[in-house]
């Protein structure tokens, strides 16, 4: 009697879990594997990939680590990686500085105000990120009030006019603007759970407002900081549209480099190798953040 029910339960389990599993195996895992393999192949004569088995011996075929060797042969590529990390780190840090006071205020507000405040954070998030980058194109554009004001001010010190748009600063502003909600929301969910009695106890024990923040609230909020940082840093690392829209020709990041390999020069093995290196970097970062968060939960 038990045997058929067990196999039936198995059948149900299989029926429920296999369709999404198979879909993702086919359209997420397989493309990933193809990309790893592609990074070890030769580029085709007219872009794309060369054949794995070539009938004519004088054409390159088979597998090679040439794309990776090429990456390390010219320091410009490592520089672009370092620059992308620096931009993503700066974005994360500025987002954290801007998000923390707001998240703290939200968490300390009465329940009814809180939902409204969360809604007010999510609403601008609902607009397309291209639109949000475009908004800064208007604000920083050469004819904008901000540009004229800045340059009139600089003129007082006999400094020449500076373009605000198409500069590294514009890229950073755009990056912060687009990613900010990703930092506010996890921070808020963390801060909201803090027990207010802890702060009262600290106050009773004579801790100043500053001490209460640095020795109670801040350490307890570290898991939220790590979660928010991962949610900002990882997408920020792969961005290409924001430098495309707000940056100048020198503001190329990893994302732009990868895009160029696939759609411009069509060097697919090199583009794949860059993508693999980016994946490894992003995974290492995510692992680091998760590890730190877990370790901290032990203390807290």
């Amino acid at each position: 009697m038990t045997r058929p029910t067990i196999s039936r339960a198995h059948l149900v389990k299989w029926l429920v879990s296999s369709p999404p599993l198979l879909f993702l195996l086919l359209f997420f895992v397989a493309p990933g594997i193809i990309m790893v393999v592609a990074s070890f192949r030769y580029p085709g004569e007219f872009g794309g990939l060369a054949a794995l088995y070539s009938p004519t011996p004088n054409l390159p075929s088979g597998l090679t680590a040439e794309a990776y060797r090429f990456f390390f042969s010219d320091p410009i590529y490592a520089e672009i990686f370092v620059k992308s990390f620096a931009v993503a780190l700066a974005t994360t840090f500025i987002c954290l500085l801007m998000a923390y006071p707001l998240a703290l205020l939200m968490a300390r507000s009465p329940k009814r105000q809180r939902d409204l405040m969360v809604l007010l954070v999510i609403m601008p998030f609902a607009s397309n990120f291209l639109i949000r980058a475009y908004a800064w194109m208007i604000i920083l554009g050469p004819q904008s009030a901000l540009s004229r004001l800045t340059n009139d001010f600089l003129l007082l010190f006999h400094a020449g006019p500076v373009p605000l748009l198409f500069s590294p600063v514009a890229v950073l502003v755009g990056m912060v603007y687009v990613h900010l909600p990703f930092m506010i929301l996890p921070l808020y969910t963390n801060l909201e759970r803090h027990d207010p009695l802890l702060l009262d106890a600290a106050q009773d024990l004579g801790a100043s407002a500053w001490q209460r923040f640095w020795r109670v609230t801040f350490p307890l909020s570290l898991p939220g900081i790590f979660a928010g940082s991962a949610l900002v840093f990882i997408p920020a690392l792969g961005v290409f549209a924001i430098p495309d829209i707000l940056g100048g020709t020198h503001d190329m990041l990893i994302g732009n480099l990868i895009k160029e390999q696939f759609l411009g020069t069509r060097d697919w093995p090199f583009g794949s190798a860059l993508s693999i290196l980016l994946t490894v970097a992003a995974l290492a970062w995510a692992g680091l953040a998760a590890g730190l968060a877990r370790r901290w939960r032990h203390y807290a």
Partner: protein, 259 residues
């Protein structure tokens, strides 16, 4: 230190930073000037231009079609994944469901581009975009559905089975009605994400098909006119409506837990 004026000031500045740019985009969509530089006067002109822009209208129709098909499929697959993740101890599925959401979008875009062209020999177009959108939407639906199931008492499903319901009947009459708000919210969320997606669409659309975000991108890159402001304003209104609808149906979406 409770809610000190300093905290209020910092928070209000952050809100201003979040809203001012969007207010400017919306305001200039009604501005009677080709330049997004200063206010000249009110006009509907750019909306009229927009409604006569055949390319833009086709892109809008494509976007809606893709979003509808992709989010329908993602809702079915994501609901299955959410139930499976909650009910069974699976190792592989949660990782595979959440990874496409957690990694830089460009990676999913280029790996699908390679796969479609190299392995499937597929001409990039509507179909490749739809498949790509399903891939990243499944995770969002699964998370929302799972969050709804977490708070539920498993014994009512067992009770239905003990009373002789087949697994399908138990799902149809017990599980589904209970998770329906989450399923609908997941659908609306996927619809919004698909409608809004630029990066993955950019790599998987080829030259065959254009969507609203692709159209907006090329306009920003080539020739900026306030028509961009007008289409941005309309798209913002649409996504906002969908998002508010989703949060009405499943309040969890708004708590930041599902984002």
């Amino acid at each position: 230190m409770h809610r000190s004026p300093a905290l209020w000031t910092a928070a209000i500045l952050t809100y201003l930073f979040l809203y001012l740019p969007l207010v400017i985009v919306v305001a200039y969509s009604f501005n009677d000037s080709r330049l997004n530089a200063e206010w000249v006067g009110f006009t509907w002109h750019w909306y009229r231009v927009l409604l006569q822009d055949a390319g833009m209208l086709r892109a809008a129709a494509n976007s809606l079609f893709i979003a509808f098909v992709a989010s329908s499929a993602a809702t079915v697959l994501g609901t299955m994944a959410g139930i499976a993740m909650q009910r069974y101890r699976l190792r592989l599925l949660p990782i595979m469901v959440l990874s496409p959401v957690a990694m830089p979008e460009i990676l999913l875009g280029v790996s699908l581009l390679l796969f479609f062209i190299q392995v499937l020999n597929l001409t990039l177009g509507m179909l490749s975009v739809i498949i790509a959108h399903i891939t990243f939407c499944i995770g969002f639906v699964a998370v929302i559905v799972r969050a709804r199931l977490v708070g539920m008492d498993e014994s009512i499903f067992e009770a239905a089975r003990d009373l002789g319901a087949t697994p399908w009947q138990a799902f149809r009459h017990v599980t589904l009605p209970l998770i329906l708000p989450a399923v609908i919210a997941g659908f609306l969320m996927s619809f919004t994400l698909s409608l809004d997606d630029f990066v993955i669409t950019f790599f998987t659309a080829g030259v065959g098909v254009s969507t609203l975000p692709l159209q907006i991108y090329s306009m920003i890159k080539i020739a900026v006119t306030p028509e961009v402001n007008a289409v941005s304003t309309l798209l913002m209104l649409l996504t906002l409506t969908l998002l508010l609808l989703a949060s009405r149906i499943a309040p969890d979406v708004l708590k930041g837990r599902a984002v």
